[in-house]
């Protein structure tokens, strides 16, 4: 398997070399192509520690393939022209081979440019994407005893927990998996392991699915807020300049 994939990788690099030669002669067209791709970048699951901003990552990644070479599981691949992302950049497809979250992060160590950020020390802190459960097709959400994603999750109990609810229509409990974005690394082991025909849990771009509770509100049971006994004004006090009054038009004009 190793040999096979590195051969493919080498083949690809040769082709890349040919492409580069073409680019050198073709000049404009090649850079246009690259720019187009960079701009239209759909979500790609990058190696752990890859710079979060796609522009930063694309700018920094020199498509050298060393991370791909370093990956012991053949998870990482270099994008080909049909991958829909900048050619030659590393990515992976979790349903094929997920990131197994090596403690020593060899892909990161191999990166010569910092496109994979050396600041990442603990693999559990990586954020490659976010796992999302399709609760309509998740077997556990229907009451079956599956919970494979929970058991296989390398940050088990933190990134995916299982909650027990009475099923109500029979005397069985449901064992419902939930993903917690606070700890999900987006490694995709859950997506790979999911036993449904199409994975009912998938790694996606967090921004696509994550909502946000208003800054003005705290969930009562998550934050401890004792009543402040000795009150003091914190933060910037009001500047004091009076702004023009509002609402006068309504108050002063029109019939009563």
């Amino acid at each position: 398997m190793n040999t096979k994939s590195s051969t493919t990788r080498r083949d690809f690099l040769v082709k890349m070399g040919q492409g580069a030669a073409l680019a050198a002669t073709g000049g404009l067209i090649w850079s246009y192509l690259l720019n187009q791709q960079a701009r239209a970048t759909p979500f790609a699951i990058r190696p752990p520690g890859a710079l979060a901003d796609p522009d930063d990552f694309n700018a920094r990644c020199i498509k050298c393939g060393q991370c791909v070479d370093a990956c012991p599981y053949d998870t990482l691949k270099l994008a080909t022209a049909d991958a829909g992302i900048p050619i030659g950049t590393p990515y992976f497809i979790p349903r094929e081979i997920p990131c197994y979250m090596c403690e020593d992060i060899p892909c990161l160590k191999a990166c010569p440019t910092g496109a994979i950020d050396p600041a990442l020390e603990n693999i559990d802190d990586s954020r490659m994407g976010l796992a999302v459960i399709d609760i309509e097709n998740c077997l556990s959400w229907q009451g079956l005893r599956c919970e494979i994603c929970f058991r296989e999750c390398p940050v088990q109990g933190k990134a995916i927990s299982v909650e027990h609810h009475p099923r109500r229509i029979s005397k069985h409990a449901m064992f419902v998996p939930l993903v917690h974005s606070s700890d999900c690394t987006g490694c995709g082991i859950c997506e790979k392991a999911c036993p449904t025909e199409e994975a009912a849990i998938r790694v996606v771009q967090p921004e696509l699915v994550q909502g946000k509770i208003g800054d003005h509100y705290r969930l009562g049971w998550t934050v401890d807020t004792p009543i402040t006994q000795e009150f003091e004004i914190r933060g910037k006090p009001d500047a004091g300049d009076r702004a023009p009054p509002t609402g006068l038009d309504y108050l002063n004009e029109g019939p009563l």
Partner: protein, 914 residues
Amino acid sequence: MDLTRREFLKTSAATATATAAGISVPAAVLAESGKGDADIQWDKGVCRFCGTGCGIMVGTKDGRVVATKGDPDAPVNKGLNCIKGYFNGKIQYGQDRLTQPLMRMKDGKFDKNGKFQAVSWETAFDEMTRQFKKTYNEMGPAGVAVFGSGQYTIPEGYTMAKLMKAGFRSNNIDPNARHCMASAVVAFIQTFGIDEPAGNYDDIEHTDTVITWGANMAECHPILWARVSDRRLTNDNVKLVNLTTISNQTSDIADSEIVFKPGSDLAIQNYLMREIIKRNAVDHDFVKKHCVFATGPYDIGYGMRPTDKYAFEAEKDIQVKELRVTLDKHEAIAQRRKEGEVVEQKNTKKPVKHWMISFEEFKRGVEPYTLDFVAEVSKGDANESMDQYKAKLKALADLYADPKRKVTSFWTMGFNQHYRGSWVNEQIYALHLLLGKQAMPGNGAFSLTGQPSACGTAREVGTFAHRLPADMVVFNPKHRARSEKLWKLPANTLNPKVGSHITKIMRDLEDGSIKWAWVQVNNPFQATANANHWIKAARKMDNFLVVSDPYPTVSAKVADLILPTAMIFEKWGLYGNAERRTQAWRQQVAPPGEAMADVWQHLEFAKRFTLKEVWGEKTVPGLKAKGFEDGKLPDVLAEAQKMGYSPEDTLYDVLFATKDNLKVKWPDTAVAKGHGNHIAEKLGDGWFPEKALFNEYREFGVNFQHDLAEFDVYYGDKVRGLKWPVIDGKETQWRFNEKYDPYCAKGSGFDFYGKALKALPSGDLDKVTKKDKTSLAHKAKIFFRPYAAPPEQPDKNYDLWFSTGRVLEHWHTGTMTRRVPELHRAVPTAQLFMNPDDAEKRGLKRNDLVWIESRRGKIKALLETQGRNRPAPGYTFAAFFDEGVFVNKVCLDVTCPMSKEEDFKKAAIKVYKA
């Protein structure tokens, strides 16, 4: 670390109630999901996997199983399945399904060292028969053996047991169920005089305390655990306690987790009983009316060979304990002896003998088991404080002793696969009986089984080396006589000598005392501990091994002949689950290629033997029984002729296609409803073997405390299995309880009416003092059994505990579930679970490939330091489904000396980087 995990789970559970409230399935959605299924035909079936016995519906189209669903009417699972059950429809369609007989051949004929080649059934049976006769004529009935199964359908187990015992007069048939619940059986028989649980799964909804002992129900009985969890979630008074040697998924919802040292469950049980007596929580009325006290010898060995002749050099220091044991500090206290005392193991041949003792003696037996002593013996997690651990033990005693609390105890392999498996089983009954908390709704000790028909087939049919149907045994002359009558055999046809149990069959192959064996519904060469010995024996010794299987397994690989076998929905069958529920299904599709069901294989093989070949005088070394010449089975041919048989009749004619059975016609008009029967069709003589043979078998249990309904009843559209005894069409919910069980004597309240071992001599804790036997009919026994230390424990060289078991995703040796691509993708390999500190100390990290080495061999696996199992420092675990890892090469083949069930849970290993 564990506590934080559980705390986390608890806090997140609170946040989730709102989301849960919305979960319900609108009727419109349900109706919609049925569309497009119009041309699928549905019929009821049973899940192929564990002993829970979930009902499923099987959907077929164009001769193929295209869908299954959980049966919403099945009381066990109400439409649900676990992830194995979800894949029932895919297990028969693995890419490497065997469809032709395969035999080792060289130059056109059989050769033990040849390569497998496809042969016809005719050639296969010819060679199989030739080899059988060669061994049988040379060695007699003791030279041949069958590895049977708790996954045989009832008709399959019945035909094979009858062929072996009545036909070949050999008791060398033993199921893999020996490895699964033989210890439970010994305890049932010794305690109650009759096998199988008093209660049923409804105990879960009736009880308010569930105690799991060595049972990771969350993974191994997933649907039952969903019921236990529901009970816990819907009632705050309900408490769950998980006693285990390795923190597991069952702990996640438990109120208390007690991590104890391997083998020390014996001590904990005695502590609980001592407490119950001290607190005066004994139900004296119940005990006086319905129980007696008993004990037996302690010097019973560990079920190993009495000689080191076949042991590897490294194994010898453990093997010698079979002969003599030097008591350690804890055993000395627990057995009222001196530390360092050398105890010759004098009762290895008679470990089951026992005698009555007084309550005073019983009290004296449990007296040393104080909280301080037991906590010291049993605390399993070095990171837990002694005070916290003691508090947990005390709280456990509080739960059991509380007169207002109903308590259900569940256990599985942690108890059964134990060097004192029968003892721990007996002591859980002792605990419940002392409290008067047995055989009533919500109150009882309930033995869960592993396999789908461990109860229905292995136990009830009696595919064990010592058993006959309906709890009868081969060494009891009355039982033999009754069986001979029902089977229409001449007197003394049946062999009174107990055959080889499954581990012994392996040992017999190794020492050459068995030379022909047939493996069915079973993968013993992967599933038996200390596998390196047995694989070598199969390949290097002069023997002939037949394996019937749908897939190429490890056992098939070491075989000489492989027979392609039909799978569950390719044949008619019945299974019996752990709550005595017998459930039936029809053939849904035809088997692929030339594959044929086991029943057909048995019948076809039987055609190749005439009475004169098997019912003449036979030598059986070691046979000693009243009415028999030593070492001999008599010639019964003359008697047979008087009964109307001819010496030229085949075993097929005499045992199976009998006059009565031939009257049970195929095609069947009552229950077949258009479904095929590939066995009846291939036999072509117009009878319905499964139905005829089930009804024949049924006669054993009727009015004999094991009543089953007639075959057709189980096929009724409305029937979802029935819990035996089925009397006047009614199933029995709680046995031994007069309110529910018609076998109880009127006015008895409770009646432990089982008949076995109901007259005993009396004595004290150490010996028999009065040989006269007292009858204890209608009573159960409360045993005293002391703590004994595990024969192999971690030491300087092998410094870690190792236990094996299951994962939710895979079944047994993975021969079916590893062929389901989705399950294989989810859990491709068995990992070695280790405490992260132990890994760090060895310079290992998760996903490292490591060597696991014991005295018996070494294997490689990937290391895991987190996830579903969280071992305390010093403990490791790996599942046994993965033939690539092959944990049984390192496991120890110690057995409970009484049940002969192997202890897969306690081996010492070392682990280092591969």
